[in-house]
Subunit: 207 residues, 2 copies
């Protein structure tokens, strides 16, 4: 396997993984053509992506599904569980905490934090909401490796600073703010209104 995969390939691997999971369990092999159709991409792209994994399909046959699934999981680092801390116990934080898909992919919610004392102690998705004051202790003590920011925008940068100082190197930011993080920390942004605004651009184009 190549030391680093192209970024576009990395972002398609999860899609392939979900596509494979949706295949009927009677099927044991799968062609790049079928995978491409289900994932909505080009079949040459599927083959190229998979070739980066050192995944060896069989010419004339296709890829063995079970083997391919394992290779993708390994490439993505999904071979063990990751502790996740959700910061912000509002509607979004609660929705995330309740998200069933977490555990299925090896993500364990280690804690749900909030700055609002009124929320601390209440229950969200089986987790007692804890105080953001304990962020550092929780990150260290519970081996948290991923932080999810579901706070208001104005609080996002400070939360990110505290997370990174505590050793978190991967952050998913749902607040509509651009956040600076030190070198070596990976941050991804999921922004609802950006998505909506991209949609409106395309709506406008159609008129």
């Amino acid at each position: 396997m190549k030391a680093t995969l192209p970024g576009a390939t990395v972002s398609r691997l999860p899609v392939y993984l979900r596509t494979l999971a949706a295949l009927p369990s009677t099927q044991t092999t799968c062609s790049s053509e079928q995978l491409a159709a289900l994932a909505g991409v080009n079949s040459a792209q599927v083959r190229k992506d998979l070739s980066y994994l050192g995944s060896h399909g069989t010419r004339g046959v296709g890829y063995r599904i079970a083997e391919l699934r394992d290779q993708i999981r390994k490439a993505l680092g999904l071979t063990h569980d990751y502790g996740v801390v959700i910061v912000g116990a509002g509607n979004l934080g609660s929705a995330l905490a309740n998200y069933g898909g977490f555990a299925a992919w090896g993500f364990q919610v280690a804690a749900v934090l909030d700055a609002d004392r009124g929320k601390v102690g209440s229950e969200v998705a089986g987790h007692e909401v804890e105080s953001i004051d304990d962020l550092e202790a929780i990150v260290t003590g519970r081996s948290v490796s991923i932080g999810i920011i579901a706070t208001p925008s104005w609080a996002a940068q400070e939360v990110a600073d505290r997370l990174t100082r505590a050793g978190v190197r991967s952050i998913l930011n749902f607040a509509p703010a651009i956040i600076d993080v030190p070198e070596g920390v990976e941050i991804r942004r999921v922004d609802l209104s950006t998505e909506l605004q991209i949609l409106t651009y395309h709506l406008k184009q159609q008129d």
Copy 2:
């Protein structure tokens, strides 16, 4: 302005818009260098993106903030309001309905729908949850142009089919499913576990 903007430019425009909004109100012009630093991109890229808009900055000075904001809004089609229907009143649907940023950018939640009769009639973010049976009537009657799918995966395709048949041409899909839509319908996917899995890839790379 060019008839169509490069895709990458379209997805950066919302970021510029938010960056401009965060600038101190005493500032009236802004250089590509400053905008780039705040948005986290290259300044040549900012200038290129803005040149597509026919936006004319002033050499030696920069861009007039108010004018630039209006041009970006116009380019994105944010000059009028859009009706949005949220399908699925679970945690995620509720979080979306409660999302404050909607109205600020001209998105009006026209309805929140659910298939569960137990949820119909309950209140979510000031909206009485309505039955999914009325989807078509609501889309047509309330001029809905954007559909948000916040249902379980297995229901996502059918909801998309019903939305597009009712005339919706822009869909934001939060269900972790690949959905087929007819030509001319724009669909964007926001997938929490894909984002997390991309983060784990980078975590793995650092070890």
